[in-house]
Each structure stands twice: as structure tokens, then as C-alpha cells.
Symmetry: C2
Subunit: 211 residues, 2 copies
């Protein structure tokens, strides 16, 4: 079924199309041309059409795109038509922030467990979920499927915990630790390196001043 490998540049843009289409739906817009959308999103109309046509022809000549239809199609392409069970490793502020973000649930990402190495946190509630001790991870995984693991723990632990999770069959990692994970090829790793993000601001501020 999978078409010849879509480039990551395209994949990175899909969620943004999805967000804009969602906003258009909220505004009551029913149809939109690649040209109108390109003005809103500040990208070329050509790129929008190219990107979408990687997945099929969703528009109609002389009309444009039906907003709701395209929105649903992109959801399907992104796999948002299924639910994903997410466990969070690390019940610190970042783990809490993720656990508490309601919009994720709306998109089918369900927080099914939260683990932490700190015994004092064990048993406390975060939203609807009770924190378990990290030592219970294997036992939990034996009885529950895990689609995605969010790692909101320090880098020293993150690499090891990712190994443990991989042995338990987890194939997708949302990595917030300031390190690269060392998991096999058959895994999905999406890293959010906040410190690198901040450094880019620093660089851009500096080069703005120099003009």
C-alpha cells in the first residue's frame, strides 16, 4: 500500500496544513483554492498542490478543495483516524504538561500510564491517571499495549529506559531528553530538543543585530 517513500519535508508540512484546515472549518469556510491557502499560510500554491498530490488528487479543477474533505483526508494520511496509547515516562513538569494537554486526547492520543522513578510520586494522580513506579514498567507492558512512549526524563535515564521499552515491543518514542536515542531502525523517534530550539533563537537574534 505504501507509495514510494514520501520525503520528510512533505511530512513535516502536513500537520500545518491540517491545523489551517481545522481553523478554516471553524470559520465556516467550505472550499478553498491552493492560491487562497497559500496566501494564508505564506507558502507557494505550487508547493501545496505538489504536497497534496503525493497522496492523491483531493481537489477539483475550477473549484479548488473542499475544506472538510481535505481535512479528513489529511487526518487519515497522518493516522489520526486511529487511537494511540501513550505512556509517559517521567512525572515532572514536562510529563505533567503533556499529560494535561486535552487536545491530544481529541486527536486520539490517549495517556494510558505514567511512570516515574521517584517513589514519592507513585500513587499520586495526574489528571485521570495514577503514577506508577518505573519498576512496574515490564509488568504493565505484559498486560497492556503501548503505541508511543514519551520520555520526559533526564538524558542519563532516557537511553536505558528506551532500551527497556524496545524490549517490551514499543516502537515509537517521543524523546524530550537532551540526547539522541540509540534504538534500532524499526523504531520511530521524534525528538523535541528544547535547548537546541533555544540556541537557534540565540543565533537568529545575534544575526539580526548584525544587519
Amino acid at each position: 500500500m505504501s507509495d514510494n517513500k514520501i520525503s520528510t519535508a512533505v511530512i513535516k508540512r502536513l500537520p500545518r496544513y491540517y491545523r489551517y484546515l481545522g481553523e478554516l472549518i471553524e470559520m465556516g469556510v467550505e472550499r478553498i483554492s491552493s492560491n487562497e491557502l497559500s496566501e494564508r499560510m505564506k507558502v507557494t500554491a505550487s508547493q501545496i498542490r505538489q504536497d497534496l498530490n503525493n497522496f492523491g488528487g483531493f481537489g477539483q479543477q475550477g473549484y479548488g478543495y473542499n475544506v472538510k474533505y481535505l481535512y479528513d483526508e489529511i487526518a487519515r494520511i497522518l493516522g489520526l483516524d486511529r487511537t494511540h496509547k501513550v505512556v509517559i515516562i517521567g512525572a515532572g513538569n514536562l510529563g505533567r504538561a503533556i499529560a494535561g494537554y486535552g487536545n491530544f486526547a481529541k486527536r486520539g492520543f490517549l495517556i494510558t500510564a505514567i511512570f516515574d522513578i521517584n517513589p514519592e510520586l507513585t500513587g499520586t494522580d495526574i489528571g485521570e491517571t495514577k503514577v506508577s513506579h518505573l519498576s512496574e514498567l515490564e509488568e504493565y507492558a505484559r498486560h497492556n499495549h503501548i503505541d508511543i512512549a514519551a520520555l520526559t526524563i533526564p538524558k542519563t535515564q532516557a537511553v536505558m529506559v528506551a532500551d527497556r521499552l524496545y524490549k517490551l515491543g514499543v516502537k515509537a518514542f517521543w524523546n524530550f531528553a537532551h540526547t539522541d536515542l540509540n534504538v534500532p531502525q524499526d523504531c520511530v523517534v521524534e525528538s523535541v530538543h528544547l535547548s537546541e530550539s533555544l540556541m537557534r533563537i540565540s543565533y537568529n537574534l545575534k544575526s539580526m543585530e548584525e544587519d
Copy 2:
């Protein structure tokens, strides 16, 4: 001073070089060739040399690169040799997570104020910093310089608060809201769209299964 516009692809990679060099220093490694580094980082040696030579010749033929020297040079390029005053708008879990991350201070990013619209949070402490009410923003900015504003608030507020901050002279935004900011060209915007990151995981999981 500013060399002919460095591509964003290069800038995005710089912090990662910096991280690896930091790790090498911790390991006591004094020199490294582009080849060795390329194996560790899983990028081509050619790319490393090209990237670095955008900023100058930091290596030596027949020797390679001095790790500590290169580390310091990249810090300078990234602007990490100066301090940045960061205010956080939004004292929720995400704001707290950022405020509490000690490594930022180590790189010269100082949390100088935290604002929230919720009166109940006003006066409470987050780390060393007291939360102020958002209405005090203008008064604060009159007496204190702000280099970077981190927006950890819902999208509905984020756009408006960014406008207020811009009028107060703030030129760099670390945007965690699920929206694009609408600030003028002379600003730096770095967005961390967590939901988009999660959608990419979803897509990649799906396309992995299809193989």
C-alpha cells in the same frame, strides 16, 4: 560582519554539533576528525566540514579539530557567549517545566520573570521567580529588558500577547501555542508545536506498518 546568509539547514545542525562536542569534552577527548565525528553523529564527514566552513576554518590539516576550541567557537557562533533574559508567559505545567530546567541557565538563558493571567498564581514562587499578573507586563517591561519571551499559553491568548510584547520592544518569541504568531519581519520566532510533532510520529508509525 554577518556573512552571506547561512542556510537554516546549517543552523539547525549547529546545536547538535555543540551537544556532541560537549559530550566529547566530558569524555576527555581532545581532538577529533570530521570522519570520527561523522560516525558518531551518523552524518557525512563532508557535511560536517562544509557546515563548519561556513563560519571559518576551525580545523587543521592532518590533525582534525581541537574539541574544546571548536566547542567554544560554536558557542560563540550561536551567541551563547552572552546572557539572554527570558520571560515566561503562562505559569502552567509547560511554563514551570521551562522555568525549572537548570541547563538553560548554564547556557546563559536567565528566567527573569513569569507572568500569568490567573490571579490565584500571582505571588506564588516557581523556582527563584515570583509569578506576576499579566496586567503588570507593560510596567515590568518599562524597567527591565526582555530578550526572549516564552509563550506557554493557549493559542487564543498567544497572538495577542505577542503583539503586546512586540510593542514593548521584544523581538524574539519561543512559541509553544498551537498557532502561528503574526509578528513583524524584524522578529525571531521559534515555534515548538508539540501536537505536530506527535502527528509525525503517528504518520511514521503508520507507514512503518505498511512496509
